[in-house]
Symmetry: C2
Subunit: 181 residues, 2 copies
């Protein structure tokens, strides 16, 4: 978020077709919950388009990239690498420490699809579990970001939005804004 | 969770094939993050099987049901209905109130797929937005449950688990337990 060291989200193991919607949801969740950029490893044209379209309509800043080599990205990253995995250390035991590190350093948050290569577990500075139960990389990412930003991300301001939702107790209200020019 | 009024999660609008994995992740997230039951509206044989299999291996209690009539379920529910939608009121403005209500009343948390029928917005006691941005029903459910249970769900105890993950800083460790007989 603005004024803070950047938070990047790396989505590993995207398989075109099969992972299309999950990978789109990873990118949209990263954007909505305070990350600055999503990076897809591999051929993720569909998710890239979906997230770019939402950013165009609902605002940014938010960056979307792809990479052919997640290994180079992980080993060269100038900050701390946090891999979200059910096999890692409980989030409730390490979120304070990671929050404190993030005051001064960028984070790269890694989420996989079904199988994550073993070197990711070794390279990561932190392997973090949002429970040790099998559930969803989207759910893990959401809880992790909400803990990291301690709720500040929930009312983030958006720039260059063409559309804006106006909260309602019942029903839907969306406004066109003048900010999208 | 044990000793508290139950929390049910209703997954609306499941379309076989297209929503298979998202609906599975809704159920797995509900289970992992403290809900007591997932109810799928419609023909959700795939997700039902996935969530039942994980519950069998990693423990419960957790119930999985399907319904043909979400309308009857919503109108007859003996507790508060919370619909998660980007058009609703900000979670940060209503989570205290819902947490307080849940001390005495069951909750039915409703998450949709792409299009949610308008009557759901009308019937719900609360329409709650985890940001007013388009992202993911799985992410919204995760953040909502984590706020509702205030992190207590993260180290929930499991019964009748055949397998248990042992947290590790690097690598993977899974133990067979004696509890699964």
């Amino acid at each position: 978020m603005e004024g803070e060291p950047p938070v990047h989200v790396l989505r590993l193991g995207h398989r075109p077709g099969r992972d299309q919607r999950m990978s789109s949801h990873v990118g949209l969740t990263a954007r909505a919950l305070g990350a600055d950029r999503v990076i897809y490893a591999g051929d993720a044209a569909g998710p890239v388009e979906t997230v770019a379209d939402i950013t165009d309509r609902f605002g940014g800043p938010f960056e979307i990239e792809t990479t052919d080599s997640h290994r180079a990205l992980l080993s060269d990253f100038g900050g701390q690498v946090v891999h979200l995995t059910m096999y890692g250390l409980p989030i409730e035991d390490c979120d304070d420490e990671i929050r404190s590190i993030h005051r001064n350093e960028p984070l790269l948050v890694v989420v996989g699809a079904e199988k994550v290569p073993f070197d990711v577990y070794e390279t990561a500075d932190y392997n973090v579990a949002v429970t040790g139960q099998p559930h969803s990389e989207v759910a893990s990412l959401a809880v992790f970001l909400d803990h990291l930003f301690a709720g500040r991300e929930l009312d983030r301001e958006w720039q260059n939005a063409k559309r804006k939702v106006v909260p309602k107790a019942h029903g839907k209200r969306v406004e066109d804004t003048d900010d999208g020019s």
